[in-house]
């Protein structure tokens, strides 16, 4: 599944559909959710005060280990492990983990792309660091999805239903008490969206 393989916004009035498409795009971008979303469908019915959204997420569950973002090299003579960073975005997480294990005093950063660790057993530690988990993108995904849903919904629609299971996310919001068929409709939308990608 590609990111944003399907991106549908439906509304009775075409122009309003376009506004909401833009709002959803902007919010996906600002929460950095776009790579995580495979298919998304939104249905707007202002006359019923109804907002329905279903999302099928991509597999972003791959955990990031040090070897994915940096080269790790043991320097037995100097008693050091050198880490050359390739992807800067995970540095805060990486440093946090390293500080916890080795202490701040043993870690230096000669420049922005290099981290040096002083240790007695460089080879073993290098092997450990290579396999160390740095970040888990799935961790914050749920939180971000809910935040995204609330930001995208019209503000007055404060009665909400949401379901997050496996890689499916269903969100229904309204100003009135939620009707059961609205949630069922969203379920049907979800099925359609799941099938839509099988061709």
């Amino acid at each position: 599944m590609d990111s944003l393989e399907t991106f549908v916004v439906e509304s009775a009035i075409d122009s309003e559909q376009e506004f909401y498409r833009k709002i959803i795009e902007d919010n996906l971008a600002s929460l950095k959710l776009a790579p995580a979303v495979g298919r998304i469908k939104v249905v707007l019915r202002p006359e019923d005060s109804l907002f329905q959204m279903v999302i099928i997420l991509r597999d972003v569950g791959t955990r990031v280990t040090t070897i994915d973002i940096a080269d790790v090299e043991a320097k037995p003579v100097a008693g050091e492990v050198m880490i050359s960073i390739k992807k800067e975005q995970y540095i805060p997480e990486l440093l946090g983990k390293l500080w916890e294990r080795y202490g701040k005093a043993n870690i230096s950063q000669p420049d922005r792309w290099t981290v040096a660790i002083i240790t007695d057993k460089p080879a073993e530690e290098a092997a450990f660091i290579r396999e160390m988990m740095v970040a888990d993108p799935r961790h914050r995904l749920h939180e971000n999805l809910v935040d995204f849903a609330i930001r995208a919904t019209p503000e007055g629609f404060r009665v909400r239903y949401h379901l997050y299971k496996d890689n499916r996310f269903v969100f229904v919001a309204s100003e009135e008490a939620l009707k059961h068929e609205w949630i069922e409709e969203a379920g049907v939308m979800l099925d359609e969206l799941t099938e839509g990608g099988k061709k």
């Binding site: 009035i13 506004f19 902007d26 919010n27 503000e155 100003e175």
Partner: protein
Amino acid sequence: MAVLRPYLYTGGVHKHGLLIELMEDLGGYIIQKVVTGTEVNLIMLVPEKDIHIVKQLSDELLGVLIEAPLTGVEIAVVSPTLASHHLPHSACDVAEYLRHPGANTNMIGLARGMGRRVSLSMDYERRLINEHDIAVFTFGSFSDCITRKKPKLFEGIEVPIVVTGGPVDLKTEEIPGADLYIGNIGRVSHRLRRTEEINALDRLNEGVSKIADNIRKQQAKDPLAVLPARAMKEIENQVPEIHRVLSPAPLTLQLDGIRVKLPYDEFHEKIEKMEFDEGVNLSELANIFRSKMKNYILIKIKSKSDVGFAI
């Protein structure tokens, strides 16, 4: 009485004092002076027949002098709530853009303005909005809401109402109670920077300027007993405490009054008793109220027909 025209001067700080002195000599008024680094913005009222003199000096100082039709207008930018759905885009963009032609804008977020059936405004909020010259309501993207549900927020608003929203094809007449509708400024989650959005903001400024001009024309039929700008200058001279106020625009000019950003209880007597050269007190020429905004003082100047004379 000399006819005063609003102008905005933008230039370097160097020698801008000459302009202030010139304004004193000509009998014009400096409404607001904003210094940012080495730049200065002067919003001023210039006597119509002397504009060329000011223009000449501004050219000498290598500054830019442009007309600022919204000078001396205080505008309320009202958004349904202060939630991230409406702020900072688009409500702040609207407020910021209205300041370009010289207006002072205040952002007001209603406590319970969101939603279709549940939206409402409080008496306090309505009175606060009515203290302004013009109210700009920033609404969302659904035409159904704008034409049928949101207009209940206009109840009790006595000042002209401008509405912004997403749909482009709506007409002003379709929105009960609105004096002007501007499309293409709906709910967005990005800065208004695309061509059609900037065009919409330009149309908003034009439309609001026209409304302000209409109010001024109505006023000209029965002029105010004293020019708000003159009363403002007198306050600056006679109430020195105003110079220590840190709020932006400590004296905010309105079309028919002034908002004085000093506490009411402490200063209202001093302001009521303020005397003009002609020997009249301000309280004879104006009604002085406690403002709904932060306990400030609100001066609403009476018309000539009320007072019987004008100075």
